[in-house]
Subunit: 317 residues, 2 copies
């Protein structure tokens, strides 16, 4: 096992930070590192927190951090902003507030932004969760700004997903995006001291009552995160969802599905790596590309020819 | 050649609409259709229009449509909203205004949203451009809401990209996202009758002067799209960019790069298709997945084992 992973497993914060940077930079050693730390993962419970900008996610996460620490659990936070190309620092507006936790050795906070692509961000988030899991965190919170499909992809990594709304007009229950509705295990109506909050809670409950939810009907929790109100009840709901997920076997199912996606990606990574090495060694793509640009060939038939050329389909074909 | 493609090439609107729907639905026939229409593509000039919500992209596109049609050119518009799961209809707020062009047979307007993933949306947009190109459009406008990395991926399909700003405080030049700055070939300061518009133009120009831009230094065009002011100058700038791109050989280079990505994707599609067919036929993944969930194995080594099992690495390995 490599030194960095061994340091991580022993609780070295700098090792955790360095590993996440290597993941973000798509370091060539990355796969080897993730392989080494894999046996130490699988213990953390992962909670996704998503909601529109201004819904008070950060102060909510702040409150949850205090509650989780008061229960004696170790916690990691990954703040993900799909709209920002920056990472490593304080990208989410009020991340600075979290600095107050900086001296607590059992809290680890990290922000991530899009470097290359959104697909890459979802992958980096998954891998950062692996790092914090092996690092010994009991709970990992993934906080992401809600801007569409991107956060849906990101929260797929979570065991339990909270969607945060506010009573403000713009967040009217009618405007909740289709994809968001389906990922929510728990709804939080934050800033519940604002006018209209009871109406928002009622509307959400009505909407949820109309749907067939299976074994888990998402509860709706009013919270005033700046005053810490409703946090205990919310935490209890999170624990309850976890218990139901574990007892029904659902947690095992979603984790197996996640493993299936991971194995699929790894298989495809190895395949692509080998195929392109063979192509580069045997074929000059330049004249093929020129022929496609000039419409003498099309990319679909040419793809077939390239693979025939490296004998990918085997002798028998 | 299939009937649908032959109808498309002859200018049948319903064929165009149906082909784009098949692309969006990832129809199994899709690749065959794209292959058949490929020889008819490569003639359209593709212009990307991006900017924050509220920057008046739609009315700007509206004005450009009128100008392009007045010049006797045929035009297609693809409206892309990465934050919306809907498509086919009027997703962008004021798309309805465009209905006034509905009777003009030489204008084709289509909206697209995210179905599955953002990666899928960028691909579907590229393929819809191919359809409209084969359909005989001279100019194709891709209009996308600016929400981060997603629109950067989408405008990669464009030959020329316009970034639309407004003089409003929130769009201050300082807040332009890094990625957006780099994709702009032309800046439009829309709503240029609002206070602060000259300051925005000046700031943009100062910022552009500080950078080394190579052979093309993006111009900044003040426009009042609701009154059609500045549209002629903007259109001339678009034509000028196209001319410079063509004469410098840059257009050929970016189109070749685009073909390279397309060929790469097609090769990988064929490879994955075959590999997973072999895996499914020869290996029961279920027990492997269980072992990975239980941390008896890791996904990285298992990926290798799966490929050895189907003899992907060949006899010699």
């Amino acid at each position: 096992m490599q030194q960095l992973v061994s340091d991580l497993v022993q609780g070295n914060r700098r090792a955790a930070a360095r590993l996440i940077s290597q993941i973000e930079n798509d370091d060539p050693e990355k796969r080897e590192l993730l392989k080494d730390l894999y046996p130490y993962t699988g213990n953390a419970y992962v909670i996704g927190v998503t909601g529109a900008p201004g819904s008070g996610k950060s102060s909510l996460v702040d409150c949850l951090l205090q509650k989780i620490r008061a229960d004696g659990l170790k916690v990691g936070v990954i703040g993900v902003d799909p709209t920002s190309p920056f990472s490593g620092g304080a990208i989410l507006g009020d991340r600075i507030r979290m600095q107050e936790h900086a001296l607590d050795q059992d809290i680890f906070i990290r922000s991530m932004g899009t470097r290359g692509s959104l697909g890459g961000l979802a992958r980096a988030t998954r891998e950062a969760v692996q790092v914090l899991d092996a690092f010994g965190k009991d709970i990992i919170l993934i906080e992401t700004v809600g801007v569409g499909q991107s956060e849906v992809d990101i929260v797929k990594t979570a065991d339990t997903t909270m969607v945060v709304l506010t009573p403000a007009a713009g967040d009217s229950v009618q405007t909740i995006k289709a994809g968001i509705m389906e990922i929510a295990d728990i709804f939080v109506v934050n800033k519940a001291d604002l006018p209209g909050s009871e109406k928002t809670v009622t509307e959400l409950n009505l909407m949820l009552d109309m749907k067939d939810m299976g074994e888990w009907r998402p509860p709706v929790h009013p919270v005033v995160s700046v005053r810490g109100e409703g946090i205990k009840e919310l935490w209890d709901a999170l624990l309850e969802h976890r218990r139901v997920m574990e007892e029904s076997g659902k947690l095992y199912e979603i984790r197996k599905e996640r493993v299936r996606r991971e194995l699929t990606e790894q298989v495809e990574y190895l395949v692509k790596d080998r195929i392109w090495n063979q192509v580069k060694a045997q074929i000059s793509l330049d004249s093929l590309l020129e022929n496609i640009v000039l419409r003498r060939k099309d990319p679909y038939s040419t793809a077939n020819e390239v693979l025939e050329e490296i004998n990918f389909f085997g002798e028998g074909q």
